[in-house]
Each structure stands twice: as C-alpha cells, then as structure tokens.
Symmetry: C2
Subunit: 491 residues, 2 copies
C-alpha cells in the first residue's frame, strides 16, 4: 500500500516556483466559493512522524486565508473532554458549513498507537475503526467533504529525517524520545496503519497517500489534491443532494403503540404516596450519582399534550438545581444549523454526576422531520443508524440513558387541547398547529413505530408509557428512572 510513496517523488525548485503561484491563487478562489457552500471540509493530516504533518498544516494556513479555517490538534484530552464520551471533543470541533477544519492528531492517532505500543489487540482496533467509519460516514452523509491524507516515509528515510532534525540546533527540539520509541516500532506501525487505512477508505472518504520525503513535492501534491477534491465536491454537491420524490408516508394499520395499555390508572391517594416515595428515592439516588460521577441522560418524546412537561417537573423536584439541566428542543440556532443535526445534542451531554433532560430530542429527525418532509427520505432513513451509534457511545462511556415515549389516545389529546383553551394560563400552550398535527396522527404513529423498532436496542431500550392518565405516567417515569440508575449503581 505504501510502496508507491517510496519511489522518490521530488520537484525541482523551478518546477515548484512555476506551479505554486497559480495553485495559491486557485486555493484562495475555491475557499471563497466554499464560503457559500452548504457543506464543511475536513482535512486530516496523518502519517509517519517527521513526514510533514505539521509543516503541511502550517502551509495550508499560509496558502488559504487563515481567518476562515481552524486547525485542531488533539493531544491528551483535557478534563472537560475526558469527562465525556470519546468522540465528544471531535464532534465539538467539527467545522461549520462553508469552512475548513484541519486535523492533526485526530481520531486515527490513538487507535493506531494503542494497537502498536499500547495494550489494544486486533479486536479493540477493529472496534475503534468501526467508530471512525461511523463518525466519518455521518459527516459525509450530511454533505461534508473529508480529505484524508497520509504522509509516508520509508524506514530508512524516517531514520535519516530524525537524525537530520536532531543534528541541527534549530530543529533538534522537534525530535522527542517518543519519536525514537515510535521509530523502533516502524514495521508494526506500517502494518497497523495499513490496516487502519484499508478499513476506513470508503468511496465517500478515501485515503490519499503522499510521499513525504521531498518537501516541495509534498507541498504541491497536497495543495493540488485538496484543490481538486474541493472543486469536485462543489461541482457535484447539487447532484448529490438532489432531493428524492417526497415520501409516500404510508401509515401502518397496526403499530407497537397499539399494545400500550391505555386503561392504566392510579388512585389519587396512592399517587400522592407513590410520588413522594419515588421522589425521595430519586433524591437519594441523585446524591449517589453525584458521588460516583455518573452521567444521566433522559429523553422525553410523545404526543403533544401527553404530559412531558408535567412529568419533567415532578422529576426535577427531587433533584438539586445545580445538578440538572432541561434542554427544550426548539428551532435550531444559526450555529446549530451550520453543523450536523446531532451536534446540538452532543454539546449538551452532561458532565459526570449531572443529569441532562431532553424535552424532545434527536428523535425529531425520524418523527416530525420525517412526517413533515423537513428531512429527505435518505436523511431520516440513515438517522436510525446514526442515533444508535450516538447512543451506544453514550452508554459505552458509562452514561445512564433512559428514553420515554408518552402515549395517549387521540380522544384524550383532544380533551386536553380543549381544556388548555379554557384555562387562561394554559392558552399559550395551544394553537392551530396542534390541531393540524392531529390530522397526521396515523403518520406520526407509523413513524413512532419505526423509531421504536429501529432504535430500541439492548443498550438503549425505549420505555413506552401510557399517559392516558397523567398520574400513572408520572409514576412510571420516576420508577423507570430510579430503576435504571439503580441498575447502574447498585442499590
């Protein structure tokens, strides 16, 4: 795989001087065109130590307009980063549409190093690479152009390079003990890297290997490749994102929601007693949660007027205000729209010992966005896998994840709408849109059915709650949350 990058590619100074001025002009032009494009560009600089990753990043900052790109290097995670799922920091640094992000020391670095000199085995590596593939596919499916560049040096050339850097007083600081330690493992690095490249080269996001020996060749190849890829992506993105014909949106006659027993209810006296007991239990558990540094994510979905707000209010009464955050999902902000749709949920992932309660969530993609046609069919179809991957990462990092669908009958919903219209301080909660949504009840029901069947996983099961009685629903919600925390912590 790397043989073609050991052929001794080089450019003379004249060749370089002839090609570079034009290249720079074109890079600036394409960057300006990119500014209005609906996708971001990620440039990954990986490869052998000393093959020019850092120099390439510097060069790109010089050739492009540095004001409209960001360079990220991920070393050891900071405290904020270490406290969250591994990909949180990568998500947070994804570039906005129309901009370029350059990544050195990225999501490939740690999987490769820990396989070669850490204690990861082949299976661990495979698992890590699967995460990489999922992550990149999500971004690419969303339109992102991911340019992955691997800078290569032969073993002999790397040794020569390190020695040369070391012998010069001006550059010796750049060679660390770790570089020599890595060099001793050159052959293993080569094998593992080759596997990583093979396993993560996709049609959407292929790897390009660049010979790193000659600085001029490397620079021009880098620039021309990036230029070409951006030009191509700009030329084809309209085609790629051409929307499919609207979804027929056929309603399913029988859904899993039909199995929810809506007759469930609870007596007022029992309710009062149970509520207090469960709030006490949750309060005690919340202190353990803080002590043990566990993160809790609770998701509420369900019909309008099913009582999500009321259930949340009963839950937070048991919690310390410093410990939780309720995130209501409204229209995304400008910054949120400029990122992948999952970005705005990733950013609120709680720190250890904290609760984040999402009042509606990432499932909007496969519910309202699907039914109302805000998401193209391809978009909501692939969202199931994207969501499963996201949730798997949450759970793998030790987070307790609980997902509720609050269910009720169309008749009960109508009754509550009418009630809202009559009580002054509830009138703001009801409008013509709510009635319009009712007309699509069957479509929403089908979408919810698909959602449950596609995303109720072993890691992150759905809890369908009968909300025909608000009291019953509140008790079930509290009980489920307590049980889930207890299952994670022990009693």
């Amino acid at each position: 795989m790397f043989e073609t990058a050991e052929l001794g590619h080089a450019l003379t100074k004249d060749e370089y001087n002839e090609r570079v001025p034009r290249l720079r002009e074109e890079l600036l032009t394409i960057q300006r065109q990119l500014a209005d494009a609906p996708f971001p560009v990620l440039i990954l600089l990986n490869g052998v130590d000393g093959a020019g990753k850092g120099e390439s990043a510097n060069l790109l900052n010089e050739w492009f307009d540095a004001r409209y790109l960001e360079t990220h290097a991920f070393d050891a995670p900071s405290q904020d980063e270490a406290e969250r799922p591994r990909y949180w920091r990568y998500w947070m640094k994804t570039p906005q549409r129309g901009t370029i992000g350059i990544y050195i020391g990225n999501w490939y670095t740690q999987p490769i190093i820990s396989r070669v000199i850490g204690d990861a085995n082949d299976e661990d590596l495979a698992k890590q690479l699967a995460h990489v593939r999922n992550f990149e596919r999500m971004l690419a499916d969303d339109g992102a152009l991911i340019i992955k560049l691997w800078f290569h040096l032969s073993k002999r050339e790397q040794k020569r390079r390190l020695k040369k850097l070391e012998s010069n007083k001006e550059t010796s600081w750049r060679v660390s003990k770790q570089d020599w330690k890595h060099f001793k493992h050159y052959d293993e690095f080569r094998i593992v890297s080759e596997r990583a490249l093979r396993d993560t080269s996709s049609g959407q996001s292929p790897w390009t290997i660049i010979e790193g020996t000659d600085a001029r060749y490397r620079a021009v190849t880098l620039g021309e490749h990036i230029l070409e890829r951006i030009q191509e992506h700009l030329a084809t993105h309209a085609e790629r994102t051409k929307s499919a014909p609207p979804d027929p949106n056929v309603a399913d006659p029988l859904t899993i929601l039909d199995r929810v027993d809506l007759s469930k209810d609870i007596e007022k006296a029992d309710y009062d007693h149970e509520l207090e007991r469960l709030q006490g239990r949750l309060n005690k558990l919340s202190r353990k949660v803080r002590k043990k540094g566990v993160s809790i994510v609770i998701v509420f979905e369900g019909w309008d007027a099913a009582g999500k707000g009321g259930a949340i209010r009963r839950m937070i009464r048991a919690l310390d205000a410093r410990q939780f955050r309720v995130i209501p999902i409204a229209a995304p902000t400008q910054e949120e729209r400029a990122h992948h749709y999952l970005w705005r949920f990733w950013r609120h992932i709680p720190r250890p010992g904290r609760f984040t309660i999402y009042d509606r969530s990432w499932y909007g993609r496969v519910l309202v966005e699907r039914v109302e046609g805000f998401a193209a069919r391809a978009e909501w179809r692939r969202a199931y896998a994207e969501i499963n991957d996201f949730e798997e990462q949450l759970v793998e990092s030790g987070t307790v994840l609980v997902k509720f669908w609050l269910h009720l009958s169309p008749e009960e919903q109508l009754r509550r709408f009418k009630e809202r219209e009559e009580i002054p301080y509830k009138q703001h909660k009801i409008g013509p849109e709510d009635y319009r949504n009712r007309e699509k009840w069957n479509l929403y029901e089908s979408a919810a059915d698909d959602m449950v069947s596609q995303t109720s996983t072993e890691h992150a099961p759905w809890t369908l709650v009968s909300a025909e009685s608000k009291q019953w629903a509140r008790i079930q919600v509290l009980k489920t949350v307590c049980d889930a925390i207890e299952a994670r912590l022990g009693k």
Copy 2:
C-alpha cells in the same frame, strides 16, 4: 444591615397556601413575557450557609418553567476555567436575552471567603469588589436585570439549623466540616459580607436581604420579589433604552494619527532580511511561549486596505498552526447577538501557550458602531471603561496583549482600492461600501483618536504603525510582537 432579617418573619401554612398558587401563575406569565424581552435576568442567591440558597434554586426551578432557565454553581474552577482570566467562566455563563440564569456560588463567594478565612486583606477585597462592580455594571448597562438576594440567619439560628440538619439521617450529608469551620467565623463573615453588600449595592443592582429562618416566608418573599423586579424591568426597559438623539459626530481637526510619520519605508533587500530574521525570532519565542504556558492576544485595527491581512500572514508563517487562531470579526451570530457585545471576544480568549489574533476586535464598538450610529452614544461612551476593564483582566491573568492601529493616508488607500479593482483575485476585497466609508474619513479619524486616548493604558498600550509602506508595517508589527513577548518572558 442584617438586623431587619433577624426579626423572626414567618408565614403560617394557610397564608402560604393562599399566596403561592397565584404567585406561581404570575411567575409563569412573566417568564413568557420575558422570552421576547431584549434583556436577560440574573438571579444571585447568596448568604449564610443553611439559610436556603440551594432550596431557593430548586424552588425557582419548580415554579418557573425549568426549560427556560439555567442554574449555575461555580465551585473550584475546572482546568479550562483555571487556564483563563478569572471572570471568563462567569462571562461564558451569562444568560441569553429573554432567559433567566440562577447563580449559586458566584462571583461574590470567593472574595468573601478568602477575606475571612483565606489570606486576602482589605485591599485585596476592595480590588475584588471593584471587579464585581465593573462586571455587573457592564451587564446592567447592556440591559440585564440583576437580582441579588442575600439569605440571612442569625448566629443562633445558623447553629440551630446546622445541628438540626446533622441530627436527621436524611439530611446529615448536607452538613460538612467546612460548614462548621465557616460557622466558627460567623462574626467575621457578617462583617465582611456587610462590607461586600454595601460596596456592591448600586441603584441598578441593589442587594435584597431575606430572612432565611422560616422556609415559607423565605419562599414567598423570594418569589414575590423576583416577580416584582421583572415586572418593573419589563415596564421600564423601553424607557431606559430610548435612544438618544444621534451623535453630532464632530470631526476633530487634529488627531494623534497625524503624528504618525507616514514617510517611513524600508528597502526591499533590508525588508527580506529583516522579515526572515524576525520570523525566526518569533518562532523561537513561540516555543518558549508554549513551554511557559503564556497566552498571547494580538489585536489588529486600522483603515481598510491598510494591510492587516498581509501583516497577519507574515506573522503566522512563523507560528505552528496548532498554536494560533485568527478570529475575523464579521457580523455576530445569533447566539453572539443574544449576549453582551464583549461575550463574543471573551469566548475566544486563548488557552495557555496559544495565540489568538483578532482581525478587527472589540474596538468596533467605538469605531464603526460609533461612526455609523449602530451603537447609541451612551453605549460607545461607556465602552471605553468596559474595554479597559476587560483588557486589565487579560493582562492581570498573565496574557500578553498587543494592539495595533495600521495607519495610512487617504491617497494611498485610494491607490490600493484601484489596484484591487484591477487584479482579478483581489476584486472580492473591494466594493461600493469601501468607497462610502472613505467619505467619513474624518469621523473615523476622530473616533480612532478618542479610542487611543481613552484606551492606551499602561497595561495595554496602542502601537500606531505607519502602513503607508506595507513592508515597513509588517516589520514593525513583527518587531513589536517579539518585543512584547520578550518583555514578558525574558530573553
């Protein structure tokens, strides 16, 4: 000061039950009105341990719609926070317009504690309180409503409270050794707190003391006070923000910019040589900067076409791409507009060992916003003090701050505009607006003159650079940056 909060205020259960339902309804109503208001609300909960700060936060989360407020508690700073100026974390958590932020353990906590049981003396406390006043005044001037509540308990009552909590198995966890340690210092806390309250009670943001003994009295007083303050603020904010008649904007016949010697130039050969030497020097210094963990902030202001971009490009060529970030100041995003105008600059303050280069900056407030009338006269006038305070905090935290004004003659500017129109890849840099701005040259010159005279402080002096020759300017910029870093680090 606290005597009136030791009178034994209390409410019976009946009184409580009579007042609370109406209060809750009104709080929800006012919160909805607030959503469209152009200002945020900050509620500070401070006071004696055990007097009900935490309970009050919980109560407000229950009474208000918790989805539209945020509760923040500042304990020991996280790594990210500790690496930046002290107020960075408070700035980052200021609420957006239309929302409520609740603060426990806020900017008052550490100044008071370190005066009572730390090693701060009266002078240190005075300095801290001055920072508090500046911070709150900035927010209040921007429209924010700051409600500052102090929960008080008499010494006897605090002792009783701590003992009672301790004796109950359910609540004993809430009493720590630290609480008893603080209790031993009750009298000193009282004196220091009184001073803090006196020194920071302003007409805009007064303190309100609430007796914490009786939970019902405390709750109702809290809720009613907050309701009243928000109602009042909503009723008067239109009046308060009524814009003054437009600024006459008289141009000054003679400005400090006239003293810049525009005849300065440098020979091509000298330039090449100097540039290389200075880039080498900066590169070496940048490694020291990283090693020693110093933050560098560089600000570029100046006339259109004065060569800011070119000077920045020559500077970053000497730096590692992982180490710097260039922030171009364009139109603020939605999230940025929802905060105080300084918020969007605070958020990019670099971590230790990094450079942030602002291509235009917070000085826009007193330049373009002043001249074009985007900022009211009161706004840009007070901005000088706000900016000085911001910069003082930067420098106090150890940051190297360098500010450039690139100056040139109107004739040279015109020549460069024409040149831009003729070179294809520069055409995007020039438009009718650039010509329009030229007509206000004198007004901009006066604004720049005021800016320099108001904000060239000992901590953060301006460097006026003759940019009539681009080469000369680039050399001066590099030299000034190197000197400033060297002055901070030693050679």
